[in-house]
């Protein structure tokens, strides 16, 4: 199977005072389309750093990242924004919904930047909210929704521009275990039914049961892999 995501000898170093923190120190990995990959490891292992580099939210110190064969480090800021708009969708631990917008408006928001024609936005947003089980909550604001419901809105928003890749940074981290399981079940469904490629960062060992592959990171290195 062709690789949808290719990471080659990736380094990401941060200067902290006099010291250099090597958040990623030579990681190479390849993810095929349709995979559901979990990245696990202790805090500071570099798993979130890898996720955000793959999503084009950050730039590597050295090394290559290719999405669909497109080398990200060669792209301008504008082209990188285009990658974030069309190739990936982010789901964050703390949801990051806009509090003044309704669920529907939050899902529409990324379509504004992708220049989706106005007439297509709402029907698509409603469809996505229905898909994540919030068809009856479209006009609620985030403060009127439970944590699990907010994360569902965030997942619907990540799917707004129909990206091939979903990147989730500890999506169950702020949820109780039962709600977390529901969110995981939703992600599994998106992976299996829609063939969406998903990368998920998690501390939770049980996540390993739902995914097709698990990558273990420690101190910026890839230390193990389990299918």
């Amino acid at each position: 199977m062709d690789a949808l995501i290719e990471v080659d000898d990736l380094h990401r170093h941060f200067a902290m005072g006099d010291q250099t923190v090597r958040a990623l120190d030579g990681v190479s990995v390849s993810v095929a389309a349709g995979e559901f990959v979990a990245m696990m490891g202790p805090s500071g292992s570099g798993k979130s750093t890898l996720l955000y580099l793959v999503g084009g939210l950050d730039r590597p110190t050295s090394g290559a990242i290719r999405i669909n064969g497109q080398e990200l480090s060669a792209l301008s800021d504008e082209a990188l924004a285009e990658v974030r708009s069309r190739e990936v969708g982010f789901v964050f631990q703390s949801f990051h919904l806009v509090p003044t917008m309704t669920a529907l408006q939050n899902v529409v928001f990324p379509m504004v930047f992708a220049r989706v024609p106005a007439a297509q936005r709402e029907p698509r947003a409603r469809e996505l909210l229905h898909l994540v089980g919030l068809g009856d909550r479209v006009d609620h604001r985030p403060t009127e929704l439970s944590g699990g419901q907010q994360q569902r809105v965030a997942i619907a928003r990540a799917l707004a521009n129909d990206p091939p890749i979903l990147l989730a940074d500890e999506p169950t981290g702020n949820l109780d275990s039962r709600t977390g399981e529901e969110i995981m079940a939703l992600l599994v469904r998106l992976n299996r039914e829609a063939g969406r490629t998903i990368l998920i960062v998690s501390h939770d060992p049980s996540v390993g049961d739902d995914v097709t592959r698990t990558l273990h990171l420690r101190d910026g290195h890839l230390v193990g892999e389990a299918a």
Partner: protein
């Protein structure tokens, strides 16, 4: 992101921070209002200054058209032909007596009075208004200029000038023969009206019917002249708009006429006040500058508070220019709102000035006018003031907007 999306986002963001937007816009309101008021006062002062120059500003005094008598008749520059020039409101031929005239009324006797013959049909064109009597220049009647009437009245028992209307006046016209002899002709007239003051050129004049003046000049020179064929020694030309005076003067020159006007003076007055308006606008502009810093400060605060939101926008695919457009749009909108409010406030203040400014004695003395302080808002000022305030808003938003646009997406998203 298209314009509709941008407007929607900007409106939503400004609504969220309504209180802060209003207080920031108030600075722009005050700045714009001072621009509107001070520039309007400058324009008002200019109008007053031009008014004080009198009717002369839009009048051109054409001198001696008589040498044109050698021209073929159809080309003689009569008032009717001058009136055909574009920009000319009217032209009146003047027939001054070509002799020294002494005026005597009761105890009063004034030497060397300027007596001018005017076509009775055209007297009203000269813009005369009477303080007493009327403008009916029938045979044997005369109209007195304000200062002339005043001097006659002073010498004749210090009566009010208005009392001269209806009284008899003797005009002694002297004719000097080539042999040194002097002949004198007495012209008895009745004072038809006394004029209100209207400028130096008119106030010392005495006006009689053109036909009578032609007859006296005929006696003086022993030859009768026909103005319709030979033109007038003098002509007054009024332009309908001072700005067209230049074109009218070119037309008169093309007809071979010489002339003078107060337009040069009016132009230097105009230039002076243009300068003054710029200076007043500049002073008011300082308060807009202060408002600009206030907008920049508000936008910088907003960026600090909304760092995570900016990070989120970028994570969702917003380009740097999208972020920049949102913040510039917010700053520009504050400018427009403040500008519109400032124009409204400025117009209200102008209204108050025009209501009460005429009663301010100190200002009356300062400006020497009889009308006190007067603000005039030219049509271009309100839209220009709003556009300028919008520009100030956008310019003061550039630095904050660039900062917002350049935030690193991940760092912004993780900001606390």
């Amino acid at each position: 992101m298209d314009l509709r999306d941008l407007i929607g986002l900007v409106t939503a963001n400004l609504r969220r921070t309504r209180g802060r937007v209003v207080t920031t816009a108030l600075g722009v309101v005050v700045g714009t209002a001072s621009v509107v008021v001070l520039v309007s006062l400058g324009v008002g002062l200019e109008h007053q200054a031009l008014e004080s120059l009198g009717a002369g500003v839009s009048e051109i005094h054409v001198m001696s058209t008589l040498p044109m008598a050698t021209r073929p008749v159809p080309e003689v520059p009569t008032p009717a032909r001058v009136e055909a020039l574009p920009g000319v409101a009217w032209a009146v031929g003047l027939e001054p007596l070509r002799a020294s005239v002494d005026a005597q009324m009761g105890q009063a006797c004034l030497p060397a009075v300027r007596v001018v013959g005017v076509d009775p049909e055209r007297v009203e064109n000269l813009g005369f208004t009477c303080v007493a009597g009327d403008l009916d220049l029938a045979r044997g009647r005369a109209i007195l200029g304000a200062r002339l009437a005043q001097r006659l009245a002073e010498q004749d028992g210090d009566v009010p000038a208005e009392a001269l209307a209806g009284r008899g006046l003797n005009l002694y016209v002297a004719r000097y023969g080539g042999d040194g002899s002097t002949m004198e002709k007495l012209l008895r007239v009745e004072v038809a009206g006394v004029l209100a003051p209207m400028g130096a050129g008119y106030d010392f004049g005495l006006y009689i019917a053109e036909r009578e003046a032609l007859a006296i000049n005929g006696w003086l020179t022993s030859s009768r002249r026909d103005p319709a064929r030979q033109g007038y020694p003098e002509m007054l030309v009024k332009v309908d708009d001072v700005r067209r005076a230049d074109a009218v003067e070119r037309g008169l020159a093309a007809m071979g006429l010489s002339f003078h006007s107060q337009r040069g003076q009016a132009e230097s007055v105009g230039a002076y006040f243009e300068e003054l308006q710029l200076q007043l606008g500049g002073v008011a502009g300082i308060s807009l500058l202060v408002a600009a810093f206030s907008i920049a400060n508000t936008m910088l605060t907003a960026i600090f508070e909304r760092t995570r939101e900016i990070g989120l926008m970028k994570a969702l695919g917003a380009r740097d220019r999208d972020v920049m457009a949102v913040f510039l749009g917010e700053a520009g909108t504050i400018g427009v709102l403040g500008g519109a409010g400032g124009v409204a406030l400025g117009m209200a203040v102008n209204g108050m000035i025009n209501l009460f400014g005429g009663q301010v004695d100190l200002l009356k003395q300062l400006y020497g006018g009889a009308t006190g302080l007067h603000a005039f808002t030219p049509l271009w000022l309100p839209p220009a003031a709003v556009a300028f305030a919008a520009l100030v808003g956008v310019l003061s938003g550039i630095y904050p907007a660039r900062r917002a646009a350049r935030l690193a997406p991940l760092a912004a998203l993780k900001a606390r």
